[in-house]
């Protein structure tokens, strides 16, 4: 049985782990000193590049590369933005860090600021985490009091200010450019890329947008070295990964594993196995956007590339284990409804396609079974959406709904699904 590798989570174990004193006693803010005094901005970027750290938000873009894209000699301000809009259904891993180890994130953001030459940072917190809002603000206040934030940090001459911004509850604002629009006070719509945020981001200035987990990993990489970090995990997916496991298992929660050290089946066992009397239906490996995997794919190791080979994605690391008590038709309808409700309405395929699918699926759910024509219709709409959307929301909708319908087609059409 593989064991957990608690790299980030080790900071959340202690009582009062959110307090700055606890964090400092665990060796916190040491990497900040190292980054501020011993390393040049380029050194930090090189170190992160060496670690082969990939973004933990879903797309898995190499973080060091992203930082390197920011123009070095840009006059005027640059920004670091932390994407704490953890809206993907099933995901609750960032919450763990935000609530229990906020200083890990703050330290990561200051180091990222130093690396790209930004003097201001924003944490875009999703509205549903309003109960963390005050704790984050308190943590930032503590950091200011200790001199880790503000003017001339620890006498190094580097200034960094950090603000928390509470979103208004829109899934689309987890998309980085929509997040920037929302942060500017506009309607949250994804922007046309290129230009990428690294060139034209917040207020038109070079900006780095990173996930909470990504930024929280940075202090550890600086502390222990990029080479060490890249020795963890596999060649393509290095390091550890927070996995938010939920569903019909005995011990749901946030676990941290070295990437590639565990398969999906082993993970379910590690979490106590399936609940008593429940029969396995499928597992969604990366939040609701990821296509569902069935029993035969359970021996896939948890890495980005292996899960991608199975036609799904690790995404945000939200692993949802479904059992037969779930009505598949309701699940599909609800998924489609979610995307239709959250579609921002900017691009036609996503706006109209998801809503059309939802209407069909609501009808189907009322009826209780699907017909051959329904499946063809859904597949036809999925094809009309595929590859035509402005951002990943529409693509996620068609991937996930399409996978549900096609993988459980036989059961749905013949109405063989067990209903409690």
């Amino acid at each position: 049985m593989p064991k957990e590798y608690r790299l980030l989570l080790s900071y959340t174990d202690a009582k009062d782990s959110h307090a700055i004193d606890t964090y400092i006693s665990l060796g916190g803010y040491e990497s900040l000193r190292k980054a501020l005094f011993d390393m040049s901005p380029q050194d930090i970027i090189e170190e992160v590049k060496k670690s082969k750290l990939r973004g933990r938000g879903g797309a898995g873009f190499p973080t060091g590369l992203k930082w390197d894209f920011v123009p070095k000699d840009h006059p005027g301000p640059k920004y670091v933005v932390c994407n704490a809009d953890e809206g993907e259904p099933g995901t609750f891993k960032d919450r763990e860090i935000l609530y229990k180890a906020p200083h890990l994130l703050i330290e990561g953001m200051i180091i990222a600021g130093k690396a790209i030459g930004a003097n201001e940072g924003y944490i875009y917190l999703r509205y549903e985490y309003i109960w963390i809002f005050q704790r984050l603000k308190d943590a930032i206040k503590e950091a200011y009091n200790k001199g880790f934030l503000g003017k001339n940090i620890l006498g190094s001459g580097f200034d960094f200010d950090l603000y928390v911004y509470l979103g208004a509850g829109a899934y689309i604002c987890g998309e980085e450019t929509a997040l920037l629009d929302s942060l500017e006070g506009k309607r949250g719509l994804p922007r046309l890329k290129p230009p990428y945020p690294a060139q034209f981001g917040l207020y038109g200035k070079p900006t780095v947008v990173n996930n909470v987990e990504t930024l929280a990993t940075v202090p550890i990489i600086i502390n222990k070295g990029g080479e060490w970090y890249s020795s963890l995990g596999t060649e393509e997916s290095t390091g550890t990964r927070l996995l938010a496991v939920s569903g019909a298992i005995k011990k749901p929660g946030v676990y941290e594993f070295e990437l590639g050290s565990i398969t999906l089946r082993e993970l379910i066992e590690y979490c106590g196995g399936m609940k008593e009397g429940s029969e396995f239906l499928g597992v969604i490996p990366g939040g609701i956007s990821a296509p569902i995997l069935k029993e035969e794919d359970l021996d896939t190791p948890i890495t980005m590339e292996d899960i991608a080979k199975k036609g799904s994605m690790l995404g945000s690391g939200a692993i949802m284990v479904l059992d037969r008590s779930v009505k598949i038709l309701s699940l599909i309808r609800r998924t489609s409804e979610f995307f239709a409700f959250e579609s921002c309405g900017k691009c036609t395929p996503c706006r109209d396609g998801t809503a059309w699918m939802t209407r069909i699926l609501v009808d189907v759910e009322k009826r209780g079974f699907m017909t051959e024509e329904d499946v063809d219709m859904i597949n036809s709409i999925v094809n009309e959406i595929k590859g035509k959307c402005f951002c990943a929301l529409g693509e996620a909708a068609q991937m996930s709904v399409g996978a549900f319908v096609n993988k459980y087609k036989d059961e749905l059409i013949t109405n063989k699904v067990k209903r409690p």
Partner: protein, 809 residues
């Protein structure tokens, strides 16, 4: 040069070109909805998806938002592209009600055209369609949100170009709803452009509502006469054409000859780009209202005799011949040709220089700009707004020449510093595009000079553009004139408050060197020294201050000839009234505020017996023994070219345009195919030394009644339109809420204003942009004769007596 492969053939392109530009240039069929050449790229509708192969990866990319890169392979007609177009159209049509038979856009609708080209023949959608209620958002525009395909063109235009703040996007997904808040009227003078920007009939104009079909329309390229910007417009009229179809056109209705169906923008990058203001767009219904049809002569018993032209002109010429000291006043609303004919009648035939178009209180012996700059004209241009680092505006631009607003908004967005010097906050300072520098009424010059000395650091070594309206304090004008003459980086844009004032100055419709100006003419009329007065397209009783002098002058003049299109009150004093054509009925040229001389084509037939003014002056010249053998306005202009030096090289009758590579099959973009250009008159600025004696400062304590312009009510034509009425508050004085509260008045209350022992009944309206102490009356004095007490722009209010409760309006 870099190359891409477009549909299998190699095509060269310039750096930065998008795939859409290239495809359209090459004549490929790429449909679009959200893309508009004059708006920022949105790339939301996905209609322009094309299949692209780059570095071995194939995918669909939006042509409008993808920059071409060397080695790209693009297909606009492959299976994948066709499937994308088909799917996007099917999805767009899910909610579209397909009410084309009663939609105003039918026939010029992008969705209709593109569906016929690429769309599915029937919908597979079997559920109820999304519905919204029709929304009334003001007197000009109707919204049909049910038809909307959420392309965001309207929002993009309204926010980035129009600079408006009251257009919102509500909800999301396919319930996205565009428009102002519930029960609110749009408050942006560019709102009419939404109709043109909308690719289908979700936003339609009320003037065009259920009236006609596009194939019955002929678009006449002409110039808007409403303000001195000279916005380029297309005037749509319905004429009998051999190829026209439809019941009305075949029959050929008589009223079609006098009816403008709608007005649209025309692209001229130097002047109005493509956008026109609501005043330009919706002010056309006056053409049939209260018109003078035939020459009218007053008989001895005081009744009107409807005459024909020969009799009338003979009689007038006889009287004019007898007159010892004739004079003419005008409102600078005619064409250059007419002004030149009037000048020829007076300066060359009668040999008298009594001709002026300025308002009496502005008719100075020494034109401040001419004296300091060498020629009475702007030396900057409207395009300079895009270049200046600092823009200083004196006066209310929105109410005088609103069309330059799009450039002001753009300048503010680009980071230029804008200052507005005005007694109250006008649109640009109120909405935050500019900084407001308050000016005290009576102490304008001092405030202006102290502003300049306070902000010296911000203005130093910067390119500065002064935008002043020509009715602002003459001392400020001469100060700026001298500054601009001395400093190369400073430019002046003089906003003319009368539409063709620049043209009238250029062709010599001025009392120089020794004639009487408007003030002296009126004085002369009053004391009897002027015995023949021509009033040409001006309503002195509504426009001039000091109404009693005007009335007395008209009463004491033995012969008053009124050349007008409308039965306005000064015709009561007239001995003869001659009907003249309104601007859209007349051919000619107009000069805009920066000197562009532009050709206005006649779109309508002259109303009944009305004639262009130059023709009337020509007949008078002939009857008085002068020489005028012009047969058309063009003949007059060729004579102007010989006489007027700045117009020497101009040829405005030859309208120049270039064709762009835009496709024919998208109606809203087809309009932009032609780019028009105009030629500028060449002025010579010969600066002179000019001493300025700072004026005395006058302070009025207490409540000040202040007169200001109004975009609709202040225009000689616009206020006559029924359409504009909701935006024109008749009999209204605007005050700040605190001032109103202090007086114990509510919004909409009826009060009696006591000024100089005269009483006027007006309504009070709150306006938070006005500072306390100022009571602002706007526009022409046709509703309340406040010009009886206003000898200049302001007067002191003695008392305010409330008379009634708030009136529901």
């Amino acid at each position: 040069m870099p190359k891409i492969e477009l549909n299998g053939r190699e095509v060269e392109f310039r750096e930065g070109e998008t795939l859409l530009n290239i495809a359209w240039r090459e004549g490929e069929n790429v449909p679009v909805f959200c893309y508009h050449p004059k708006l920022p790229v949105f790339a939301g509708c996905r209609m322009c998806l094309v299949e692209v192969e780059m570095r071995g990866r194939k995918g669909l990319m939006p042509a409008c938002g993808t920059k071409a890169m060397d080695g790209m392979k693009v297909w606009t007609n492959s299976e994948a592209t066709k499937f994308a177009q088909h799917s996007v159209l099917e999805l767009l049509l899910l909610n579209h009600p397909l009410d084309c038979p009663n939609c105003d856009a039918g026939g010029e609708c992008d969705l209709q055209e593109i569906t016929f080209m690429h769309g599915p023949t029937r919908s597979r959608y079997k559920f109820p369609k999304r519905k919204f209620e029709i929304r009334d958002v003001g007197p000009f525009i109707d919204l049909y949100p049910t038809r909307c395909i959420q392309c965001y063109r309207c929002a993009t235009f309204y926010w980035t170009i129009g600079g408006g703040k009251d257009w919102a996007v509500f909800d999301r997904g396919w319930y996205t709803l565009f428009g102002p808040e519930k029960d609110k009227f749009l408050n942006n003078e560019f709102s009419g452009n939404l109709i043109e920007v909308c690719p289908l009939g979700a936003i339609t104009g009320k003037d065009y509502k259920f009236f006609t079909r596009p194939w019955e329309i002929e678009s006449v390229p002409t110039i808007s006469p409403e303000d001195s910007l000279g916005a380029n417009v297309y005037v749509d009229v319905r004429r009998r054409k051999p190829f026209s179809r439809g019941p009305f056109v075949k029959a050929g209705r008589r009223e079609d000859l006098h009816k403008i169906i709608r007005i649209n923008g025309r692209e001229n990058p130097d002047i109005n780009e493509f956008w026109i203001t609501d005043r330009d767009r919706f002010s056309h219904e006056y053409n049939n209202i209260n018109r003078v049809d035939y020459p009218h002569l007053k008989t001895e018993d005081g009744s009107w005799f409807k005459s024909n032209w020969n009799v009338a002109l003979d009689w007038i010429a006889t009287n004019l011949k007898k007159a010892k000291n004739p004079a003419i006043i005008s409102g600078a609303r005619g064409t250059n040709e007419s002004a030149y004919a009037a000048r020829k009648l007076f300066k060359e035939t009668l040999l008298i220089n009594n001709l002026d178009f300025r308002k009496p209180h502005l008719a100075l012996k020494n034109d401040p700009i001419k004296a300091t700059l060498g020629y009475s004209s702007s030396n900057g241009s409207v395009a300079d707004i895009d270049r200046a680092e600092v823009i200083i505006i004196v006066g209310d631009v929105r109410e005088t020449v609103p069309g330059i607003g799009i450039r002001l908004v753009r300048a503010s967005r680009r980071g230029a510093k804008l200052f507005v010097l005005n007694p109250y906050k006008e649109r640009y300072s109120y909405e935050g595009w500019a900084e407001w520098v308050p000016m005290r009424v009576g102490g304008e010059y001092k405030d202006f000079v102290s502003f300049l000395s306070d902000r010296k650091d911000e203005l130093m070594d910067k390119s500065v553009l002064f935008i002043i309206s020509d009715d602002s304090d003459p001392n400020i004008q001469s100060f700026i004139g001298r500054d601009v003459a001395l400093n190369e980086r400073h430019k002046l844009l003089l906003l003319r408050t009368l539409p063709n004032a620049q043209g009238f100055i250029d062709v010599g419709f001025s009392p120089e060197p020794d004639g009487l100006n408007t003030k002296e003419i009126l004085e002369g009329c009053r004391n009897g020294s002027i015995d023949f007065l021509i009033i040409w397209e001006v309503e002195p009783l509504w426009e001039y201050f000091d109404r009693e002098t005007v009335e007395e002058a008209l009463r004491n003049t033995p012969f008053v000839l009124v050349l007008t299109s409308f039965w306005d009150p000064s015709t009561e004093y007239a001995s003869a009234v001659l009907p003249i054509t309104t601007p859209y009925e007349e051919e000619g040229t107009r000069t805009n505020l920066e000197g562009y001389v532009q050709y206005c084509k006649d779109a309508l037939w002259p109303y009944e017996g009305s004639r262009p003014a130059w023709w009337i002056f020509k007949q008078l010249i002939i009857r008085l023994g002068g020489d005028a053998s012009w047969r058309s306005a063009k003949d007059v202009f060729s004579e102007i070219k010989d006489v007027i030096i700045p117009y020497k090289d101009l040829d405005p009758y030859d309208v120049k345009y270039e064709e762009r590579d835009f496709p024919d099959y998208i109606p809203t973009i087809r309009k932009l195919k032609r780019v028009f250009r105009s030629d500028k008159a060449r002025y010579e600025f010969v600066p002179e030394e000019f001493e300025i004696a700072p004026p005395e400062e006058r302070h009025i304590k207490g409540r000040i009644l202040y007169w200001s312009h109004h975009i609709y009510k202040g225009s000689y034509w616009a206020f006559r339109n029924p359409l504009q009425k909701p935006y024109i508050h008749d009999k209204t004085v605007f005050v700040s809420p605190e001032e109103g509260m202090k007086e114990g008045l509510k919004d909409g209350d009826r009060v009696i204003l006591k000024v100089k022992n005269m009483e006027f009944e007006v309504f009070i309206r709150y306006d938070e942009r006005i500072p306390a102490g100022l009571w602002v009356f706007k526009g022409l004095f046709y509703d309340v004769p406040l010009n009886k007490v206003l000898k200049e722009r302001y007067a002191e209010i003695e008392d305010v007596i409330p008379v009634g409760d708030a009136v529901k309006s």
